[in-house]
Amino acid sequence: MSLAFDLALCAFILGAAALAVAGRNLFGSVVFYIVYGVLIALAWLSLGAVDVALAEAAIGAGVTGVLLIGAWQGMKEAGALEDSQAPPWPVRLWAALGAALTGGLVITAIIALPGQDGLTRTVADEQGALALGNPVTAVLLGFRAYDTLLETLVLSAALAAVWSLSPERVWGGIPGPKHVSRPDGVMASFGRLLPPLGLLVGVYLVWAGADQPGGAFQAGTVLAAVWILIVLSGLRDEPRVSSLPLRAVIIAGPAVFLGAGLAGALAGQALGYPPGYARTAILIIEYALTVSIAATLALLIAGPARRLS
């Protein structure tokens, strides 16, 4: 029964992807991509990768939809929505041949892959040293913490790149339009009702992340979604991107991360956790990262500055 479900789910995923990639209607493509995000999250659930499923549910099914609909709106305002003609047939033919070749090569590689044990056992053996119950968190913030540190810096760099697209006359201003809503309307009520629950879920995910599925990225995305909701429903405006407290919040996570690495240098190993304090250090880093990731993602979705007040 599980196999039948997996096969049906994969068929749905391929169908949604095909319609998103090759459909005629551009808004339809955006919608199919949102649907695709939900289905991919379910695929990760079926594989038992709950940590990834949480990240995909928050990002693929939630935040990316807002981002793409915003981009669609921006293109529409700029009068740059391309007409949805099908590409000419030689283009389609060559693209299809290239795609078939790529897919065929990848499938050959999968079939030729030797069966291996992987690193599950190694992680399980070493995880005790960090005193963490969730092996994925142990990899993210322990064994491969360098990757994660650099990744948080990539996020900050992406945000700087987005801000650098601001027009000169609104440099350092406020991203997005000024959102309004009817004060006692459905939208405003929703904007007041959901954030406390979202905050609870976000804090729960980072709290649970040490020993169960969850963690800084998943929690940060949920908190970013709460931020976006509050702005969209017109309850609070976005901050100015030049605001110093805002920039401090964005940098706090990577800074604490680097600080822990430097503290490790004092204890004898640069970018290493002091023995016995690994769990404490990782938890502090994780909470700081959650706040920074939330702010960074929310502002990435909001885009470059558009106005001064």
Binding site: F32, A57, A61, V186
Partner: protein
């Protein structure tokens, strides 16, 4: 019991096919958006069913996140019909830009 939950999951999944059809067919953007909303609701149900079939409570957190964010895309969509994408479709008059 696990097989029963997976059978129900298969049923819900198949019922989502109709929503895919409607999202493809349209005709309006609202129809397409509603289909995404329906598949989001189906996804919450599927996550609950998989959690019950595997008896793994952690999977419920995924259902929780999906339910929490189910309306986000719809909210972003209704913004696009208002002036500058910044208003509230419930307001009789859209605000001056």
């Amino acid at each position: 019991m696990a097989d029963l939950f997976m059978l129900a999951a298969l049923g819900v999944l198949i019922s989502m096919a109709g929503a895919l059809w409607r999202a493809w067919r349209g005709p309006g953007r609202a129809d397409r958006m509603m289909s995404a909303q329906l598949i989001g609701a189906g996804g919450v149900g599927l996550a609950v069913l998989i959690a019950a079939a595997r008896e793994e409570p952690a999977i419920l957190d995924v259902a929780l996140v999906l339910a929490l964010l189910a309306a986000f895309a719809a909210l972003a969509f209704v913004k696009t019909v208002t002036v500058q994408g910044a208003g509230d479709p419930e307001s009789e008059e859209d605000p001056a830009p």
